[in-house]
Structures are given as C-alpha cells and as structure tokens.
Amino acid sequence: MTTQQILLQYFGDKSAKAKNLAEGDSLLERGLLDSMAIVKLIAFIEERFGVVLGDDEFDPDNFETVDAIAKLIEQKSAAAS
C-alpha cells in the first residue's frame, strides 16, 4: 500500500465524512481534521511510519491534504534513513 492509501484508509475508518475522499481534497473543508483529530493523526503517523514529527512540523500546511501529509512522511522517512 502506498502512504496515500494508508492515510485514506485511516480517514475512512475514522469517519463517514471520508467517503470518496481523494488525495488532493482539503481535509479541513471535509471536516476531517479538528484540533483533537490532528493529535490522533500525529500519534498514528509516528507509530505507523516510525517517524518522529518535530513540534514545528505540526503546521496546517503539512496537513492540508492526504498528499501533503504523505509528502511530509516521505520526507521524514528519507531524512531518517
């Protein structure tokens, strides 16, 4: 599974609002990322992908879309390896 697919599945499991979610859709506009949901998402990302996100990476731009999150994860994984 690609990073995007894993994330789409994550959102799909969490909420019915994620039906037909596409990689480029705004997560905020779809109501999928409130302030608590992002804390949970970060915990999921750190555990699932084995990356540690710095405080300053917790930035709305990095969490705009599934594509943006995937890019962040891939950058972190590449930097770690």
Partner: protein, 387 residues
Amino acid sequence: MDFGLTAEQSAFKKSVFDFAKKELVVGSSEPKTMRERDKASSFFREGFEKCAAFGILGLPVPERYGGLERDVVDCALAMQALGRGCPDSGLLFTICSHVLTCEIPILLFGSEAQKQRYLPRMVTGEIIGCHAMSEPEAGSDAFSLTATAERRGDHFVLNGQKTFISNAPVADVFLVFATTNRAKGWAGVTGFLVERGTKGLSVGKPLDKMGLKTSPTGEVTLEDVEVPVDAVLGKVGQGSAIFNAEMEWERSCLFAIHLGAMERQLDDTIRYAQDRKQFGQPIGGFQAVSHKIADMKVRIELAELVLLKVAWMKSRGVRAPLESAISKLFVSESFVQSSLDAIQIRGGYGFMSEYEVERDLRDAIGSRIYSGTNEIQKNIIASLLGL
C-alpha cells in the same frame, strides 16, 4: 529501565530545595510572610527576582541566551523541589506561566531575532511573560477563539478580549493568540508576541481569586493593536501547534510544583499526627488518621511516577499527549484530595487560616481547571484510546 535519579540530578534538586527553603519563604519588605501576601493578594517580586538570580527563570533556556539549558526532567525536578520548599504556590505558578507558557513557545517556535529579543531578558527577570489564549466565550474550546488578526500590508491588526490571563497585570510581553481566518478553525489560530505599551493593548485590574492569590491574573483587551509581521510566533496558522507543544511542558513541569507541595503537606502532616494527642495517644495511632496519611503517600508516589514519565519522554523527544493528560489529571486530583486530608487530620486547626493548611486546598482547586480542565483531560484520554 531505571527509576533512579543520577547523583547530579539529586544534587541539583537538593540545591533548588535548599534555595527555596532559605530564600522563598519570608520576604524582606511588607507584606513579608506568606500569610500576609496571601491575604493582600500580593505578588512576591523579591522572590521572583531571587529565582531569576538562581537561574530558575532560565532553566530550559540554552546557555547562549543566558539560561541553564536543563532538560525537561531537570526542569520538573527543580519545580518539584521549589514546590516542596516554597509555600508560595502563587509565586511558583507565576514563574511557570512565565517559563512554560511564554519562554518555551519562543524557544520552540521563535525566530532567532525573537529569541535574542526576549529570552535573555526573560531569563534575568527584567521582563515577564504571559500567555493569552482564553476568552470570555472560548475556554475549553480554546480554538473557537474570536480574537482576530487582520493582515494589512506589513503588519497585523489585532482585536479581541482575553480573560483569566496569568501574569497579565505584571507582564511585559504577551503571547496573544488570534485567528487570521475563522473559517479555518484551529488552523487559523496564530500566535503573536505583543509588548506592553503597544497602542491599543490594555490590561484590566487584577482579578480576585479563590487561590493562587499571589499570582496576578487579569483581562487583556486588544483594540486595533498594530504589530509588525515579524511579531508572528512561528508561522501564520501554527497557533494550535504552539499551544499543544507548550501544554505538554506545562502538564509535566507546572504540575511538578503541586507534587512538591504534596510532599511538603505530607512531611507536615506526619509531624502533626505524631505530636497531636487525643484520648491519651498521638492521633497518628488511629487507623482512620494513619490511613489518610498512607493514601497521601500513595498519591505522591504515583503522581511522581507519571509526571516524571512525561518529562522523561519529552526529554527524549517523544510526544506525550496521552501521558501528559493522565499526569495533569492525576496530579491535580491528588493535590485536591491530599489538601482535604491534610485539613481533616488537623481538625479545626486545619480549617483556620492561621495554621496555613487551608491555603493549599484553595490553591489546589485551580489545578483541576487550568491547563485544560480535568473533564477535557478525560476527553483527550478517551479520544486517544479510540473512543
């Protein structure tokens, strides 16, 4: 796994405790005693300055800005030692607000210029910081705040009302949270560093409180406050990140002062139960009394474990949202219950202000409310458990 402190950590903790006992109990100018300061709701500025001179205000700050550059564990240990040695929980609360809710955000998110501008003077106590998030209509739902920040050319214009802001009456630098785009909810929340004296920023008179009376609290009003673009802390929209990061620090280090206060309570209560005699014997010999003391000890032990676990995780760069919520919840509930037990064990003497036991209870109640109420901590815990 190792639950012990290093020799260096133990020595550091002891030096902070000795300093607090010697320097932070009685002041040299009126109101001198803790009881008098509490009655007069008077900020112990002399104590604040002594803490600055000792290095407390710069505990987590890198040496290049004048700080001691200690990790989170050392900061928590220092706060615990202060709580045990110093009865002025209001002073310690003010220090924690200054360090944890203003210095730490600047340290974690500030530009080099912002760090240079504020940190050295915050470390020496020349300027005092505060953190203005809560509003009359946005408390637990902090990110629903309505204070606005409108970009106009090379500056932002801030408008709004903040309430319950610790240190506001004495603060020189205000970390103000406002939204640059309400439609974005939490993602529009942005932090700004605003200095006292900026046109349009005003602070109301200190609010009268139930406890922590020596920590000044106030309202902040922003009326067309113009700040340059470089007053933004971090990036536009990063306010929630700043808030979440600093909350984890606060939920470990701030609550360490309460852990220390519980240790002080236990020491005093054991002594009292050994000295006070009724029915021809020390009351500590009655199981109803000794079991309360045993419960106090159990709470301290568990509170210390959970609190230092959060500090340890953070010192290793691990995020601790679940653990810090558990710690905040447990330490504050323990502090309230142990304060009640300390009063009950002293009977009528516990209820009288003169004996300075009831003040801890008044101070403790607030700990269930600030840094996110305990109901919100349970929501966070449940939510992180997938509920």
